[in-house]
Amino acid sequence: MNINKGNILEKLNPADCFTLAMDEEIRRDGLAGSQCGLVLELSNCPDITALQQRISEFSQRFPVAQASLQQIGRHFYWCKRDAPPPLFFQHHCPNDGNGVDFQQATIARLMNHKQARETTPPIEFHLLTGTTRNAFVIRWIHPFCDARGADLILKFLCTADDAQRQQFGLPATAPLVNVQLGKYRWWQKINLLLKGKRYITKLDSLQSIQPFANGQPPQRLNYSVQRLSVAQTEQVNKLARQYVGLTGTSLYYIGCLMRALEKLQPDNPGEAYCAPYAFNLRKQRALSPMIGNHVCALFAQAPRSMVKDRQQLFGHLKQQNTQVIRQQLDYAFLPLMWAGSWLSLAEYGKTLRLSYGSGKERSSFWFSDIGQLNLLADSFPGAEITGLFHTCQVTAPPALALLCCIYQSQLTLSYNFVEPISTPEEIGKLHQLMLAELLGETQ
């Protein structure tokens, strides 16, 4: 492709660059880069013509969907391609095949597909059909959009009314990271940057526990999806409210995972569990921005001694979260992300991943909670949505990402793990421990 400035569609914003640095880190670990997936389980084969029409409309409205990621000078840009890549693919389970295995294997294959960054399509839509199972997969690379953006793209595809579809992506705004940064004067930005630096230095005073460290090289991502019943989900919500209050459901999931991991591998070295998680800068229910990343990062950290005591752990996580917001440390990552976007990807990735003190991995696991998905089951063209989950690639270490969402009053936990550092059997044991924690069956 001919790189010239006339081909530029859009410059990556600081939050996009943050995810691009992680894409580089995942690739350096020998994995496929920052592939993410949103999977819809469908009751039957959908209306393919309607689906294709809406995907085509989406790509016309948002041409970055078929762009190529290119480095020009120090910065990265979405650039026009000479030949736009196809967006829609169909996969059919052979008549004598097992639908469950076919779906799992196809999604895993899509998530592990390796391709040079410049030629990787920003987003693809895959329809998996068969006699027993049907699924629709949106696969994207993280610099293209965040999970909320993918949720908006899905809602776009699920909107039958033409006029209502036109409302998506409006009002057009600058990247929200830049909008938020623009609210600060230069000295306030410096102040925030220093706050952020001190915050991370403090986190780094405790060495993070790595849940899976068997010394084996990473080979491929695998995933396991566990769906709680409506009654179990109600119980989890009740306990989350009781332990961390109305403001911290995600913290309840994080705390439960810390405790489950500690029970799974109590002898792993390290002093604390540390989990990065993103929060969204979009207004709730907003239909824009669709494309790009509009997030900032936070950390939940708990020393091992506290993880052993349920009451103490949740009290600590709640207080930590309150303090972070009270001291505006949640926004302190914004100037850090802006500064990071000037570094090389290798330098930036190292800064993001490695503890200042020990030089070891900072994250014990990756975490994302997209909350309740307000999507009507009958809104997908020609098929009912029976289930929904996310997948994502993750660096190794920590080789584990937990992605949570609630659809139709059921909490869904998607464990994404890197083999052979972890195995499906180990993740099965981890989920049993996690379930007991979520349901309050432990002390």
């Binding site: 209050g245 403001t247 911290g248 709730q284 239909l287």
Partner: protein, 79 residues
């Protein structure tokens, strides 16, 4: 007080098509006010009104609507 709350909520936290038509008793939680939004809202109220809202009182009935928020703040302003 309600105007400042309204402005903050609809400029920073929740998208509604027409904020002017959002009533003082309409449900903010149903409109999309989430846990992170509630945290930010509480910080805004504490800074703006010089009150401390106890963690134990962060419950749906106190944050459900603009009127509920106002009552909650006023209760603590009197203390």
């Amino acid at each position: 007080m309600k105007k400042k709350l309204r402005d903050f909520i609809f400029q920073e936290l929740v998208f509604v098509t027409d904020p002017k038509r959002f009533g003082d008793d309409d449900d903010l939680l149903e409109a999309g006010l989430d846990s992170m939004g509630i945290m930010r809202l509480i910080m805004f109220i504490e800074n703006e009104h010089g009150v401390t809202l106890p963690d134990t009182e962060i419950e749906p009935d106190n944050v459900r609507s603009l009127n509920a928020l106002e009552h909650w703040i006023l209760r603590h302003k009197k203390e």
